[in-house]
């Protein structure tokens, strides 16, 4: 277990502070995630990590980027150089915030969106994030029905949304888009 954690550390280093400003080891982090309220923090974390390591800006849906006095800095992620180099994903939370806090009270439900995602090179600014490139839902059991998807289309309007399915450590993303084939001549 220790070697495993060590090699993971090399791949990406995540500095996490818990509520008491105590530095958590990766093992402690994993443990905390597995014991999340709804037991689903691990999947959320997998998705979050996957997108962040590719340079996407990922925020929790429904939570503002800048909160008075408690700024969550969505760290810089360098895309230059390959993934062999240490990509530092630094979250510098202040006060009580931590990665755990980020996922606090999150539940994976098929009906509530998990994350707002922005493209890596988009001109993202916390002070005015603008609309996300897409909203991400994490699907657990089965793909959503047409009725459910239609409700989401109405809810999000012009902002696209995608579904993410996590299984066996594999993170896959799908788009379900309403369409209408044209009438041909």
């Amino acid at each position: 277990m220790a070697t495993h954690i060590a090699s993971l550390r090399k791949l990406w280093a995540l500095h996490v502070l818990d509520g008491n400003d105590i530095h958590l080891s990766l093992k402690e982090l994993y443990e905390k995630l597995s014991n999340g309220k709804s037991g689903c923090y691990w999947e959320l974390f997998e998705v979050y990590k996957h997108l962040k390591s590719l340079g996407y800006v990922v925020g929790r849906h429904g939570i503002p980027w800048s909160v008075k006095g408690q700024q969550i800095k969505s760290g810089t992620c360098s895309l230059e150089g390959s993934q062999e180099s240490n990509e530092m994903l630094e979250l510098e939370p202040k006060d009580e915030n931590s990665v755990i806090e980020l996922f606090n009270n999150m539940q994976i439900t098929d009906v509530s969106p998990a994350f707002n995602v922005y493209l890596p090179n988009s001109k993202f600014r916390k002070s005015s994030p603008g609309d996300p490139s897409f909203v991400l839902y994490i699907s657990r059991c089965s793909p959503s029905s047409r009725v459910e998807i239609e409700a989401l289309e109405i809810k999000h309007g012009a902002i696209p949304f995608k579904f993410c399915h996590v299984e066996n450590g594999r993170v896959s993303f799908f788009s379900f888009a309403k369409t209408e084939l044209p009438i041909l001549p």
């Binding site: 340079g55 895309l79 090179n121 379900f176 084939l181």
Partner: protein
């Protein structure tokens, strides 16, 4: 998704010869010749002359059967194709094993007995054909149909079509689990087609007669896989320094 035409001149050929016109010619020709189809298990066989054979080929209905006859050709029509010619285009009559012409209701009952999902499957077939898309069996791709914007000789098919039903009568059972979504999308991608699901809602009309069909509603949906490794560029402009993995 833009159509992928086969070779130079195909698009021009297709534009000069719209599918709606070819189908319309087929319809007139069948009516004029009072062609009768023979019901045989899950197909309808028709005997046609050279002119009709050419129209059937150009409009992509049926498959020619090899026979020793020189002046006439036999074509084998799928259930949906046959019913479309009978019921929607009203240009073909089908004779049963008893030697009598089958009414639309009788034909409907017969085809339903052979294929319980026929009502929903037919709704999708006719929905796409009405829009002048060429619709063929998608069996070799693990889907229900493949749809082309013109003749397969001129263009590659863009869509792999799956028939799904909503409401009281969900007999198809595809894409109920994520593994099936993964599988189907992957297969479609490997044959350069987009997965198109056409969801039919019978609106509690049942399937007692073909007249129920007009109350069915249809929704189209594409399902595609998004690859975050390939989509990192901001679509609005070229960026420097982003290394693609």
């Amino acid at each position: 998704m833009k159509p992928r035409w086969k070779g130079k001149g195909s698009q021009a050929k297709a534009n000069a010869d719209p599918m709606s016109k070819i189908v319309s010619q087929l319809q007139s020709s069948l009516i004029q010749s009072e062609t009768r189809g023979l019901l045989s298990s899950c197909s309808v066989l028709v005997e046609v002359d050279a002119e009709l054979a050419d129209l059937l080929n150009r409009s992509c209905f049926g498959r020619p059967r090899i026979t020793a006859q020189e002046d006439k050709q036999w074509f084998q029509l799928d259930m949906e194709e046959a019913f479309y010619l009978c019921f929607s285009l009203k240009c073909l009559k089908v004779i049963g094993e008893d030697g009598y012409i089958k009414s639309n209701e009788e034909l409907w009952d017969y085809l339903k007995s052979k294929k319980p999902v026929f009502p929903v499957s037919y709704k999708v077939y006719s929905h796409l054909r009405h829009k002048n898309w060429v619709v063929r069996s998608g069996l070799q791709y693990g889907v229900d149909f493949v749809a082309y914007c013109h003749h397969p000789a001129l263009v590659h098919s863009e869509y792999a079509v799956l028939v799904l039903s909503e409401g009281d009568n969900d007999l198809n059972g595809r894409l109920r689990v994520w593994s099936d979504v993964h599988c189907t999308v992957r297969l479609c991608g490997s044959v350069a087609k987009t997965l198109l699901t056409v969801i039919v809602n019978s609106n509690n009309q049942g399937a007692n007669s073909p007249s129920c069909l007009e109350h069915y509603t249809v929704e189209e949906q594409t399902i595609t896989r998004w690859n975050p490794e390939r989509s990192r560029e901001d679509q609005t402009g070229p960026k420097n320094g982003t290394k693609k993995v």
